[in-house]
């Protein structure tokens, strides 16, 4: 029966036996912290994916580009110096060319403190402008078409060096379903709520479940499912030891209500709990702004305010722990340079990307700006992609998970340094 249990899984079994002998066998903690193997790394990569194609031209507007104002007569934000525009509609200055959407004012301090770097005209080679193709390309770490390895780049990164003890909490997704980006990472688990991540049964039930998921697999697919089940049981153990219900954010952090804030708060809780988290993935929807996206108020600014508040709370809550955390905020593509007749924008190409936290060359906009002049746009009218999205990601993975992980994450990619995250 136990033929398929590896050494580290048996560790849990040992702890389980100890727990069985304990005075209160009804206690749900299957095993203690002792069962959580040693971490390989103490650095953490946090990836936040904005699904739907976030409008880079509104998030980081090129306010000094006259074409921007011409293409977006109702949606463009004014330059910070433009006294003729209402204050609310003026961008926050990032440098003498780019501004930050005023709805993101809460993270201006990260930029000024050098903890936040902004990239622009970033993207993949996907030209279908399909959400699902573009997301598949980006989550799988591919150049531009979905021909290629089917697993996710984050999965390859976290499993690149599988020797030694691996924490059951090394790769977690705070999402609805397992995202493609973590596809292929054995033991990766989807978590909606740390406090609810416990079994509704007694210790004997948990033991029997462990035995059921330690059975001989009925084929390759079943092997994967059994591994996932054992992974979930180990995650449950580890989280029980964390006492997540008692978690209180520090540093005056106030997370926004909703799944994004919840996910970030729980990620911070796990990072501070030092239980071996290496990669956390979060996503947020609502960025597919085809109609009435709003300039300085409305739908998009509300999404941005939530994002900004979340990042602000997360970095405050982490306090000194930010020194071992590097974060990425990315999206599958940007939006059309010109607005449509519904005061929204259709699918485009290049967008912006944020990197924050440890090792980041912050306080700077990194962009090989192609411009928005008619000849510079990619037909039918999109901001061209001048920076392969894998360039900054490679550096972020190298810093947090190591050089082997970075090479494994992006197999068909040769890195050209961009210097946005130091090794």
């Amino acid at each position: 029966m136990a033929a398929h249990l590896s050494r580290r899984e048996l560790l849990t079994g040992t702890a389980l036996a100890a727990a069985l002998a304990a005075s209160d066998p009804r206690q749900m903690a299957l095993a203690s912290v002792a069962a959580v193997p040693e971490r390989r790394q103490d650095r953490v990569l946090v990836t936040l994916f904005l699904r739907g194609g976030a409008d880079g031209l509104s998030i980081v507007p090129p306010v000094a580009d006259p074409e921007y104002h011409r293409l977006r007569p109702t949606l463009s934000l004014a330059s910070p110096q433009d006294r003729s525009a209402p204050r609310a509609a003026r961008a926050i200055p990032l440098d003498d060319y780019f501004g930050l959407n005023p709805a993101l004012r809460s993270i201006e301090r990260l930029y000024r403190d050098g903890l936040l770097a902004v990239l622009h005209a970033v993207g993949s080679g996907d030209r279908t402008r399909s959400h699902f193709e573009a997301m598949a390309v980006m989550e799988r770490g591919l150049a531009g078409s979905t021909e290629g390895p089917s697993g996710g780049w984050l999965a390859r990164a976290v499993t690149a060096d599988d020797e030694g003890g691996v924490s059951p909490l090394r790769a977690l997704a705070f999402t609805e379903t397992m995202p493609d980006i973590l596809r292929g990472a054995s033991g990766a688990t989807v978590i909606r709520s740390l406090t609810d991540f416990r079994l509704h049964g007694d210790l004997e039930t948990a033991r029997t479940l462990q035995a059921l998921y330690g059975m001989d697999p009925a084929g390759d697919a079943d092997l994967g499912l059994l591994q996932a089940g054992r992974g979930s049981l180990r995650v449950m153990d580890a989280i029980a030891a964390l006492h997540p219900a008692a978690y209180r954010p520090s540093g005056g952090a106030v997370y926004p209500p909703g799944p994004l804030g919840d996910g970030l708060r729980q990620t911070a809780c796990l990072i501070k709990g030092r239980l071996g988290l290496e990669a956390a993935f979060l996503d947020a929807t609502g960025w597919d702004t085809h109609v009435a996206q709003g300039r300085d108020s409305g739908w998009l600014p509300a999404r941005l305010a939530e994002l900004g508040q979340g990042l602000d709370a997360f970095t405050r809550d982490l306090g000194a722990e930010i020194g071992r955390v590097t974060g990425v905020v990315m999206t599958e593509f940007g939006r059309r340079a010109y607005e449509n007749s519904g005061l929204g924008t259709d699918h485009g190409r290049g967008s912006c990307m944020f990197l924050f936290g440890a090792g980041v060359a912050g306080g700077k906009v990194h962009a090989a700006w192609p411009g928005l002049a008619p000849g510079a746009l990619e037909p039918p009218g999109d901001l061209a992609v001048t920076t392969d999205y894998r360039r900054p990601l490679y550096e972020a993975v190298r810093r947090t998970l190591g050089a082997t992980a970075a090479a494994a994450a992006f197999p068909d990619y040769t890195h050209t340094p961009i210097g946005v995250v130091s090794a």
Partner: protein
């Protein structure tokens, strides 16, 4: 099988029970409605049982008590044929439970009537209807296909007026066509306020057209992203769709073509072989949509998706047979299903593992137990915890149907199974499972094997059933629970069986 007369009587009785709240009558119907739980029949060969179980797990939401026996009786091909024939009316067990749902009964072509209902009631009723139908309908294939098309034409209930518009969309644009003609279904979805609002076409007007719906119409609904169209074809289709909107005022909430918003310039869409002269109208997009339905790439795209749903992958031979059937039957759905179900699935040939989505898992568990449920909040919340809150997938591609998307969230499935079998879910009644056991099996020692076998639809000698039963037995031995209590042993066994990996597969 119930005779038509009895069925009519029961439907009438159900309606009466719903109206008059007559408890006795309602109980009588309900007793009939929940089939009797029974031990598995011993089939002549394990191959026949394996085949029947596979088919019932893929073309139905898993076997309910007695289903395997009936399928073995008629022969599995006969069972598929009767499902394809799809008589059309809801089973009494369904009618009883959806009687009184305003979103089902009142879903004609005037969605505006639902604007006065609360969001909570709308979401609850929408989900109740789909759960109850999947659990209790005898027309199982129809419900599987309803789920398939609901995801194919996904609409997010929480965007704009989604909740208000969905009932009419489900009842009039989708359900009448789930086994019918794809072109008719496509046109019905295109004219539906729910789709026009969800994909922003209601705001698509001349000037700079809004591409959202036009893009997904080709990419997700018809030819597929590699179907051969260009970005320029998308823009032309978007222009043809300008003015397709949702009415305000007197006929609020209904489809309207607004000529004033329509782009009347000439258009050329090489991909659809369409040349549209100036001053066109609503018929421009109608012919474009018809051509999309008839496009060979659409046949292949749909056939591939259906193969993956029923076979776990798309073997070229079956895929092309299905696509050809679609092409030669003027976009009919049934002929497309025949090679997939009758040739490939029924023979258990080239079939690959496919994990139940949470909805399939929940419904199949309720069916396996012969449970009585109203599909209410206790089920709906659990589905959300498992990652499949019904009608709440924001992106237009529908809930993923890849195994890898769901393996990382087993814990909420286990909790559902354990709570279900220990009677902790409000609005769900699981009849005592020990009652129908054969006399010889009614001991704490013998019961687990019989329960495992019945719930998994596997013979007690099947290696997987044997090893699961042995593991559960072993657990019970070391348990502090009262091992002499048959009821506890049975409930515990049932819960763990539904947790096992074998029950997670559509297998």
């Amino acid at each position: 099988m119930v005779s038509t007369t009895i069925r009519r009587t029961l439907i009438a009785a159900a309606a009466l029970a719903g109206l008059a709240g007559c408890a006795a009558l309602r109980d009588a119907v309900r007793r009939y409605a929940g089939a009797n739980w029974a031990p598995l029949p011993v089939p002549e060969s394990s191959e026949a049982l394996d085949r029947a179980r596979l088919v019932l797990n893929r073309a139905a939401y898993g076997p309910a008590p007695g289903d395997l026996a009936r399928a073995l009786d008629t022969g599995i091909r006969g069972w598929i044929e009767s499902q394809l024939a799809d008589e059309g009316s809801d089973s009494p067990a369904v009618s009883l439970r959806i009687a009184g749902l305003e979103t089902v009964e009142g879903a004609t072509d005037a969605p505006d009537r639902f604007a006065s209902l609360s969001d909570a009631q709308l979401m609850d009723e929408l989900q109740r209807a789909v759960i109850v139908r999947a659990v209790y309908s005898q027309a199982q294939l129809r419900e599987v296909m309803a789920d398939f098309w609901t995801n194919h034409f996904n609409i997010y209930a929480l965007k704009a007026d989604g909740r208000v518009l969905l009932p009419v969309f489900i009842e009039t644009a989708l359900r009448p066509h789930v086994l019918g003609n794809f072109r008719e279904m496509l046109l019905a979805t295109a004219r539906s306020p729910a789709m026009l609002a969800y994909l922003d076409n209601q705001r698509n007007r001349r000037g700079v057209a809004n591409e959202n719906y036009a893009r997904e119409l080709m990419e997700l609904h018809t030819v597929g992203v590699h179907g051969g169209y260009s970005q320029s074809d998308i823009r032309v289709l978007a222009r043809a769709l300008t003015g397709w909107t949702v009415a305000e005022g007197f006929s609020r909430g209904q489809f309207r073509f607004d000529r004033a918003l329509h782009d009347i310039e000439a258009k050329r869409a090489p991909f659809l072989d369409l040349i549209l002269p100036p001053d066109g109208d609503q018929t421009e997009a109608e012919s474009a949509i018809s051509r999309l339905a008839e496009h060979p790439a659409t046949g292949r795209y749909l056939a591939r998706k259906l193969c993956v749903r029923f076979l776990g992958h798309a073997p070229e031979k079956v895929l092309s047979a299905a696509a050809n059937a679609y092409a030669s039957s003027d976009c009919a759905i049934r002929p497309m299903l025949r090679p997939i179900l009758l040739d490939a699935l029924a023979s258990r040939g080239d079939v690959r593992p496919s994990l139940k989505r949470p909805f399939d898992f929940v419904v199949s568990a309720l069916r396996a137990l012969g449970a009585d449920t109203d599909g209410g909040p206790s089920i709906q919340t659990r589905l959300a915890e498992m990652g499949q809150p019904l009608y709440q997938w924001p992106m237009p591609d529908g809930f993923p149907d890849r195994t890898a998307a769901w393996t990382g969230s087993l814990l909420p499935r286990w909790n559902f199974a354990l709570d279900l079998c220990s009677g902790k879910l409000d609005g769900v009644t699981v009849r005592p499972l020990e009652a129908p056991l054969a006399d010889g099996d009614r001991t704490p020692l013998r019961a687990p094997s019989a329960i495992v076998s019945a719930l998994l639809g596997r013979s007690p000698d099947d290696p997987i059933a044997r090893s699961i039963a042995a593991t559960i037995q072993e657990g019970l031995q070391s348990s502090r629970a009262d091992r002499s209590n048959l009821k506890d042993v049975v409930a515990n066994t049932a819960g763990l069986t539904l947790c096992a990996s074998a029950f997670q597969w559509r297998g």
